[in-house]
């Protein structure tokens, strides 16, 4: 039987999510037995225009070239999976969507005319059909393996979208909100990271994006009681997953209702 063909495409990103594949260790060899990795520039093989069964896309669309390239990736693949915050919501760089980013470019680069950049950074889903999205910043090997294993079994991967709190409590971490009055984003953040930050006593900063139920009004009110300022509260939503719909809406609501 022919092995499924796999490509890993990079768009605007830090490459950190690709490490979830590269850092699989010995299991990377297992993966190479299971699939033909035909394009994965960071690992070696380069064949960006190859027809594949599975295309894994990291990064957001933020340049004119990427606008075109994502269409070809879609045409060339049976199944397109996005990995990470950039590909799934636009990433931290989507903060530019609310600003005049051409001004930033000319402020930073001495010869701005060589920089080809869109005014926005957007999720892959806003440009082409996406079969599955793996959330996280960065995603981890456990998620990538579970996703690939499901695809190899011929079934859709599992969308892990319940609140981080459940995983945090399964690890029996005493809650940082309750014990330290720290404004943890866990109750509004989807699971998947293994409750990494709360496990080390740190408040979650929502790098995995919105959970299935986001009641930011109630949580923000609570954190207001801890003395968290409006600006600080907005920053916690306007962060890595700033372009996720539920967080964007939360920011609007905080701006409107915080002082009431």
């Amino acid at each position: 039987m022919m092995k499924p063909r796999l490509a890993v495409h990079k768009f605007t990103s830090c490459d950190g999510c690709q490490l979830a594949i590269l850092n699989m260790g010995e299991e990377l060899l297992t993966l190479a037995d299971l699939v033909d990795i035909v394009h994965f520039a960071e690992a070696g093989p380069v064949e960006p225009e190859a027809q594949v069964d599975i295309a894994i896309v990291e990064g957001s669309v933020s340049t004119p070239d990427e606008l075109e390239r994502i269409k070809r990736v879609r045409e060339n693949s049976n199944c397109l999976i996005t990995i990470g915050a950039c590909a799934t919501t636009g990433g931290i760089q989507a903060l530019r969507n609310h600003q005049d980013s051409s001004q930033w470019v000319s402020d930073i680069y001495p010869q701005a005319q060589f920089i080809q950049s869109l005014n926005t950074s957007t999720a892959i889903r806003e440009h082409v059909r996406v079969d599955f999205e793996l959330w996280g910043c960065p995603v981890n090997s456990r998620q990538v393996k579970a996703m690939l294993r499901s695809l190899l079994f011929g079934v859709s991967p599992i969308d892990e979208k319940s609140s981080l709190c459940l995983e945090c409590k399964r690890q029996q971490n005493p809650c940082v909100v309750v014990t330290k009055q720290e404004p943890c984003m866990g109750p509004l953040t989807r699971t998947g990271c293994g409750a990494l930050c709360p496990h080390f006593g740190k408040a979650c900063f929502a790098c995995y994006g919105p959970s299935e139920t986001v009641n930011s009004h109630s949580l923000v009110k609570r954190y207001q009681g801890f003395g968290v300022s409006k600006e600080d509260m907005i920053r916690r939503f306007n962060h890595i997953q700033n372009n996720a719909a539920a967080y964007k809406e939360s920011v609007i609501n905080i701006a409107r209702n915080f002082d009431e």
Partner: protein, 359 residues
């Protein structure tokens, strides 16, 4: 009942006899800002003086000068994760021939010191759930049978405690091998099982003064409780309120995060999932704590039965306070107050019952 006395300085004698029965001894320790049960290393002593301040959405530990080891009332967890771990393997399957096999688990005989009356009431409810059915849960049973329980009567209640109103505390009445009442200078001990009695036989008897002091402490813990559930069975109140507006009002505050169900010592919901090796050669079936506050909890073929927080909170509340009666012969709430303290936004079940009751 025979009551014995052990001075604090002689407590190691009890530890020594427990070591003859148990491979592991678990004691309360202050960790990450909360009292948790953790293994007692040889030569290690239980730390004195810790007590906690609890309120809706708050838990903070403070170290006092007191020589007492059990001044604190409750931690975020007690027996539930020991008998019913947050995640466990159920069985394994090999791809070759699709053959299934149990996952053997070695369960060490464990003595746990410092279990509260509310935790014992919760354990007996978990026993009914996991062992009382036509298909007893063998993994739960192994862990349950390996437990030797040393309970302690509460001398103090946290502001979130309401076990008096549920009839489950503050002193231990059932489900323990040995129960302690902690005084400043030592412990009044009593047995609750034949093996507990055999361990205590050699200790000296408690005197009148010690017994009176221990009784007074329980009265003190009772008088400290400010929260309560109504004494009557709440079934009729809840069942006639299923379509009340109250659920929407709670949903405006509720995060649907599942913290309450995770810390509740009687919540038993769990989900199952398959974790296959990447090469596809074998797969292990796991179960892990789930919550009625997730979408997937009520998912059937494309429909989420409880898609709104209001119906999810109603499910939790109705199950805990009404349906448990039908399922296990009593309310599922033991008055430990954990769901109040550990709710990130401080939703208070006793207050919500009062609201529903028109108060």
């Amino acid at each position: 009942m025979d009551l014995y006395y052990l001075p604090r300085s002689g407590f190691s004698q009890l530890i020594d006899v427990l070591r003859n029965h148990a491979e592991t001894i678990m004691v309360p320790k202050a960790q990450d800002g909360a009292m948790v049960f953790s293994e007692l290393d040889p030569g290690e002593e239980i730390e004195a003086g810790w007590q906690e301040v609890q309120d809706a959405g708050r838990y903070s530990l403070e170290k006092t000068e007191s020589p007492r080891w059990f001044k604190w009332a409750t931690g975020p967890q007690a027996l539930k994760p020991i008998v019913y771990p947050p995640r466990e393997a159920l069985w394994r399957v090999e791809k070759q021939g699709i053959t299934f096999e149990s996952v053997p688990e070695s369960v060490p005989a464990t003595a746990i010191i410092g279990v509260r009356a509310c935790d014992l009431a919760a354990l007996s409810l978990l026993d009914k759930h996991f062992l009382g059915s036509q298909f007893p849960d063998t993994a739960y049973k192994s862990r349950r049978d390996s437990l030797f329980i040393v309970a302690v009567d509460c001398a103090r209640s946290a502001a979130t405690c309401f076990c008096v109103s549920t009839g489950d505390g503050p002193s231990a009445t059932q489900g323990f091998d040995i129960a302690l009442s902690e005084l400043e200078d030592g412990f009044v001990l009593r047995s609750g099982s034949a093996r507990g009695e055999s361990l205590l036989k050699g200790f000296s008897r408690a005197n009148e003064r010690q017994i009176t002091l221990s009784e007074k402490q329980v009265d003190q813990a009772i008088s400290m409780q400010t929260r309560q559930l109504p004494a009557q069975d709440l079934r009729s109140l809840i069942n006639k309120s299923l379509e009340s507006d109250a659920w929407e009002a709670i949903a405006a505050r509720c995060l649907s995060c599942g913290n309450c169900t995770s810390v509740c010592p009687t919540c038993f919901c769990h989900s199952e999932s398959a974790l296959a090796e990447l090469d596809g050669s074998s797969s292990t079936q796991y179960r892990e704590w789930d919550s009625c506050f997730t979408q997937s909890h009520s998912y059937i073929h494309g429909i989420v039965i409880r898609s709104e927080t209001a119906t999810r909170y109603r499910q939790w509340f109705t199950h805990k306070l009404a349906n448990w009666h039908e399922q296990y012969g009593r309310s599922g709430c033991v008055g430990c107050g954990r769901c109040i303290s550990w709710c990130p936004v401080g939703i208070d079940i006793t207050q919500e019952v009062a609201t529903l009751n028109g108060n």
